[in-house]
């Protein structure tokens, strides 16, 4: 089918270009919203920069405001901010005396590590529990589904504390706080993963059951495949199709969960940084975090869309 390749590649390029444009639009929107939202919050940035205990005279305050361009009208500040952003400059932290990029760069590593670990754990456990229980009745299924419901419903911070109590204080298997090797990652990742497992397993199981009820599943078994082979080779791919609708939820859960998990387990990271800069009203860092979150969202949904294309040939045409 040589004739078809060129238009197909054309289409693919156009799709990628459209998606990139969409990503830029999302980032711009996030930057704008963050900028104006934070500008509307009461509190003088100069006071924040100086810290709560200084009694600097008005002249010094004016000087600092002028140095940071804070004396200019809001819209002018917005344009200047966008201009800097376009060059990749997110400004400097009010309090850490470092560039926002450096601050976020330091925090990103541990959070990505945590999120990846959580996603891998969630996917593996959700697949196992869905494949084992889909289309079956009995005690195992009843137990698994009710425990999934519990995992989804429990507040993550409480879950984290529970895990800590059990596996760090009562049974000292894992360290209580900090980063340090894979063993320190287990409990935080599990805490972040549990609610995701709950939702993912339910969606997967429903998809598996729908797929197993289709005539092609009967056909596959009529070929001599075992039940497990039909599940793994045929039904699982079908079950993965509805996951696309979960991308927004997944990004939100990971980011929001990171804030809580990092606080509970005393881990450094984006969540901890967000918490810290919010309490300190460190605006440039907060805006930076908002931008990184928006970027995360764009990346996750792009990845899931690509996965979708890989799994479902019907979407490709």
């Amino acid at each position: 089918m040589k004739i078809n390749t060129r238009p197909a590649r054309h289409r693919a390029l156009r799709a990628v270009a459209a998606r990139a444009a969409g990503a830029v639009a999302v980032l711009w929107g996030a930057a704008t919203l963050a900028f104006f939202a934070l500008a509307l919050i009461p509190g003088d940035p100069v006071t924040i920069m100086l810290g709560p205990f200084t009694t600097a005279p008005q002249s010094i305050r004016d000087q600092i405001a002028a140095d940071n361009g804070l004396d200019k009208p809001l819209f002018e500040r917005y344009l200047a901010y966008l201009g800097r952003l376009a060059q990749g400059d997110m400004g400097e932290s009010y309090q850490l005396q470092k560039s926002v990029a450096a601050v976020i760069g330091e925090a990103l590593g541990p959070t990505v590590e945590l999120a990846l670990a959580a996603v891998v754990i969630a996917i593996v456990l959700a697949i196992v529990s869905a494949v084992l229980t889909a289309g079956r009745e009995g005690r195992l299924r009843g137990f698994v589904t009710s425990w999934e419901l519990v995992a989804v419903s429990l507040p993550p911070h409480w879950l984290g504390i529970l895990l800590l109590t059990a596996f760090s204080f009562q049974l000292p298997i894992f360290p209580v706080v900090g980063v340090g090797g894979p063993s320190a990652l287990v409990l935080p990742a599990l805490t972040l993963a549990l609610p995701i497992i709950g939702v993912l397993a339910q969606v997967l199981r429903e998809g598996l059951e729908a797929a197993l009820a289709q005539p092609f599943a009967v056909t596959a078994r009529a070929r001599g495949l075992s039940r497990r082979q039909v599940r793994v080779r045929h039904a699982l791919r079908h079950a993965a199709v509805p996951l696309a609708t979960l991308s927004g939820w997944l990004a939100g859960t990971l980011l929001g969960g990171a804030v809580i998990v990092e606080a509970v387990f005393g881990r450094p990271g984006l969540g901890a940084l967000a918490l810290q800069s919010a309490t300190n009203k460190d605006m440039p860092v907060l805006i930076g975090i908002v931008l990184v979150s928006a970027l995360t969202f764009v990346v996750i949904s792009a990845l899931i869309d690509a996965f979708q294309l890989l799994v479902d040939p019907r979407v490709r045409t």
Binding site: T219, A222, R223, G224, R237
Partner: protein, 619 residues
Amino acid sequence: MSPLLTVEGLTVAFPGVQAVRGASFTLDRGECLAIVGESGSGKSVTARSLVGLAGDRASVKATTLDFDGTDLTGLDERGWRRIRGGRIGLVLQDALVSLDPLRTVGAEITEALRVHRDVPRAAVHDEVVELLTRVGVPEPEVRAGQYPHQLSGGLRQRALIASALAGRPELLIADEPTTALDVTVQARILELLDRLKAEGTALLLISHDLAVVSRLADRVAVMYGGLLVEEGPTREVLDGPRHPYTRALAAAVPSAAARGTRLAPVRHSGPPAGPDGCPFAERCAHADDVCRDTPPPPAPLRCHHPESGPVARAVFIGPEGVFIGPGGRALDEPGAVPPARGAYGTTPGAPDPRAVGHGVSLSGIGDTLLTVTDVTKRYGGREVVRGVSLRVDRGEALGIVGESGSGKTTVARIVLGLAKPDSGSVTFAGEPWSALPERRRRPLRRRIQTIVQDPLGSFDPRHDTGTLLGEALAFAGVPRRERRARALELLERVELPASVAGRRPAELSGGQRQRIAIARALAPEPELLVCDEPVSALDASVQAQILDLLTELRSALALSLLFISHDLGVIHHISDRVAVMKDGEVVETGEATSLLAAPSHPYSRELFAAIPALTRADA
């Protein structure tokens, strides 16, 4: 030598339902046995029991279930897996959902190859291509890399058959293998199955279509309510059916011979039979207490009161006691008024009470009602309808026949005023129709109504039937206080009990839903009914009832029909004139009887030849 497959006393039960009641049959290599029955008769369950796939909730028992010396009753899952695909293949209906839509056709066939045969990896591709070639798939190399949704229905079905043949099974079970297909495609699939049979494969064909069966099967077993009621050589059973159910089934097949006659026997409902009695007793006019309480006589003819001789048919009568043949034309001969009138509960000479309020008059019959002149419609640069001209007279039924993609439905949409022709025009009752702006057409829309193949999608699922009809009546301008009474009248007209008004469409059977759709279409007292494949999704006996209803309503209400179908038998049965469509064009139009008997266009000839007829000329 003992037969390849011997089934004796097969019973399958689901919780609360006895699906199969002691079925016995045999099948040999190179032979085809067809199990015929309506949906729910137990024919598919019987087939699936033979590969151990009747379902987790099924309890399958049999005195003998012997396949080439292997006792299938004692098999565990591992044993079944050796049989499935390798020795008994199963082909299901509608390959779009029977092939995994996420995998290429080649991958599906490869899987089937590798389960049973140790085909070296390097040889797999060649083997796949060879299998596709064997089932007559053109360009097998290309097709192997394609997904089911990229293939036409016929190619998909072939690919599915190829995947079932990969393990070289000695017995192939085909469960409704052609039901979703166009006639010409169906004919080719039947040819393929016939060839496999000739090559020595045993074929168990499951179908609801007697005509399909007559083409392929050596022997026929008719199933009703889980019981094999009649079994024998195909020609014997089809030409001289003896069980009352088989006779009803044979009479239900619409054909040239059945024009102007009732397809479904006058509905009989007696007391239900006991658990051991004949399942057909409830619907059988000959049933007595013996039928209801004692098991039917043993095979092959499981009936206490078998009949013989030709199948009798009743004839329709229009208002004023005049027989309105298909064609809406009153027949002159007094002999044409048959005594079957009593079936409708009215006496000849009296106007049909159901016509009251519909403003029926036989005057004007024969005037031109709808004219379609040189209509062309393009979608996305492709002409789906090209220069189509049609005419429907008052009281006349025009049948449009053609394969899917021939533009039939687009013509229907243009006639309904739902699509605007790119060129050409439609006039209705002598007035412009397609040229009208929507604002002026809307008040006239009630004069043309429609019935579609699957009415479920055209009903709001949260409304009950009474509400649905009330809405249609409101649209027709019936005052609120009269709607309830009119809705009940409509239900009566389509032969439904008043209790149906309180139920939602999803709670009704397919036939009942189609009746509701007809009632709704009748609510605004239309002059033209556009029917787009209205019976294609229905079982033979239900299809017969709906066709009967439409024929009866036509003569009672002097309705004109534009009747679209891919089924020539149906078209032949209901239409006065026929238009044959191919690739967006009308290739031939003419009087139904003469055109169908002697088509002049080569395509019509090819199309008609593809239709499996119940009785072959050479038989």
